[in-house]
Symmetry: C2
Subunit: 339 residues, 2 copies
């Protein structure tokens, strides 16, 4: 208990780069993992963790899926952002939420190996937590992501996803919002809907599709086998779209199939859900994000990690991809998937 | 000779991400290193390389510094960008220049270990090549960078820097230009000049300074020991500022001292020169970059690489720095540097 308190009391702050306007998480006091004998995410070890913020089935000690605050959180939920200046520099507290979705009681059953019904319960947990966190007007954005495999920075072995809620919009999502908004102003159409249509017409980068979802390798893929998954119809927010059990089940089946294709080729990956920012956030009201549900389109971005390589600076400034997405898609299509 | 031709004929193209508007270098045909028995950058092996584009002393086979086209170029100098659309996607040829600055005849004498006069000749080579490449109106930007150490992706052992000239402005430089311009509009002052002033007043992140240059750890450092080096007075373009031998010598001495401090702590680093974009470029005329020489301020960014670690997705989207720049600067200041 002492160890746990020490960790939860330690310090991070957010500093804004005055030049690129991106936020940097600055650790000012070392944060380390609490001393854990057993896997803290396994059944029977619940006492090692903070109390559940979500569990399924509710109130049942034999949980199937549960969500807890992260044991080594980057962001902390208490208080206000305390935005303040220091001359021309800006900083704020690392206010936010950082949660862990424990996807299954089984320590070794990864998302793609779970039953359709179980994987759908994981998606339902995402929906519930995103909706809940978006009620908090201090948070501008909620991110859900999975690091699968050590090469992708997976830190606990037990199958899990992570959720963060932040008082700022992450860089990449911000760029996406800006482009999507500009495109909508120009064309009165959603950029992502137009991409879906072009991909479905060309069928050279498509990996898999049905009547609800499409998976494809994007035209300007950042890494080999990068794959995006999105609904064919226009839906800005994941948590507003995926409300019915039937849809959760359909997405679970589709996502599992796409992940199995990727896992047969890449040992590790990042899976990231991009959804519409928090329109309830205090901050949004003043900005021009009101239209985002119209011009944004939720999607999963899956970024395989092929090997831990040292990068030349040139590859940091400009993405460099050694495999054509058209070739990657062809390979991924031809994987035999038994779901 | 056959091998070299095969390499130089192979293919890259640039694809624009319609969502983030960044360019991705797409390899569509495998590019590999030519079969090299000896170090191609050592004296006596000049026949393994394309002809010099710069040499010092000029016309002397006993060169001290020389610049050659890269043996495995990302960008190629012939022809036009051939910008074209494919539905809503955009692409162009990987037009550009990619050069190698061979910094010294000695295979094992890194920049920081060279004499002041020799290091100044390396800086003079940068000045000459940037000025020359900026005459080419197809290029919007010229980057100079060094990868020092295997962890930083250094691919040839022989001490060298790289220069690229590109038909687009690299992402990070673009963000910098936008912020600097906005700041100038607001304050009628250069953002970087104001940063210099605040750092010199606070003296908590300063590493080293004299009457011409300042080195400091930026407020929102992306990595531990990140260090910037810039002139105290306002100068937009490196190649227009560093024209006299006296200034080249002064900067060489200063840069060597900063590098020695960093090398005593980090095994590898990226050194990147950020200078004003090419105001001669055809493309710029139409844009609003005319004011950049007023609101931009050349600087070196030095990014130490402490270890090759696998990164969690959360650390990719938002920079995470485990060491306070105030602490890093204190450590760097206290390094005993014998120059």
């Amino acid at each position: 208990m002492a160890a746990k308190n020490a960790v939860r009391g330690s310090g991070m702050e957010l500093r804004k780069d005055p030049i690129t306007q991106s936020w940097v998480i600055q650790e000012y006091e070392q944060v380390s993992w609490p001393d854990l004998g057993a896997c803290p995410l396994c059944p029977g070890q619940e006492a090692l963790c903070p109390p559940n913020v979500y569990e399924y089935p509710y109130g049942n000690p034999n949980w199937q899926v549960r969500v807890i605050p992260h044991l080594r959180p980057i962001y902390r939920i208490e208080g206000n952002a305390e935005r303040r200046g220091q001359g021309l520099y800006d900083k704020m507290r690392a206010l936010g939420a950082h949660e862990v979705v424990v996807e299954h009681p089984d320590h070794s059953l990864s998302l793609s190996q779970q039953s359709d019904e179980h994987a759908a319960q994981v998606l339902r947990a995402y929906v519930s937590r995103i909706s809940d966190l978006k009620k908090d007007r201090r948070f501008r954005y909620v991110t859900v992501f999975r690091n699968q495999g050590a090469l992708a920075g997976q830190d606990l072995e037990h199958p899990h996803s992570q959720i963060t809620a932040t008082p700022f919009i992450p860089r990449r999502v911000g760029y996406e919002l800006r482009s999507a908004q500009r495109y909508f102003e120009l064309k009165d159409r959603c950029l992502f809907c137009d991409i879906v249509q072009q991909e479905m017409n060309q069928k050279v980068r498509t990996v898999e599709w049905d009547d609800l979802f499409l998976a494809f390798c994007p035209f300007a893929s950042r890494v080999p086998y990068e794959t995006w998954l999105l609904p064919l119809d226009h839906h800005g927010a994941f948590e507003e779209h995926l409300v019915s059990w039937d849809q959760q089940l359909r997405l679970a089946r589709f996502l599992k199939s796409v992940l199995r294709r990727l896992e047969s080729i890449a040992p590790a990956y990042h899976l990231v859900l991009h959804t519409c920012p928090n329109l309830n956030a205090k901050f949004e009201k003043a900005g021009n994000w009101q239209t985002v549900s119209e011009d944004y389109h939720w999607h999963f971005e899956i970024l395989p990690v092929v090997a831990a390589t040292s990068k030349s600076y040139s590859l940091k400034e400009v993405y460099y991809n050694s495999l054509l997405p058209e070739v990657a898609a062809e390979e991924l299509r031809s994987v035999a998937v038994a779901v």
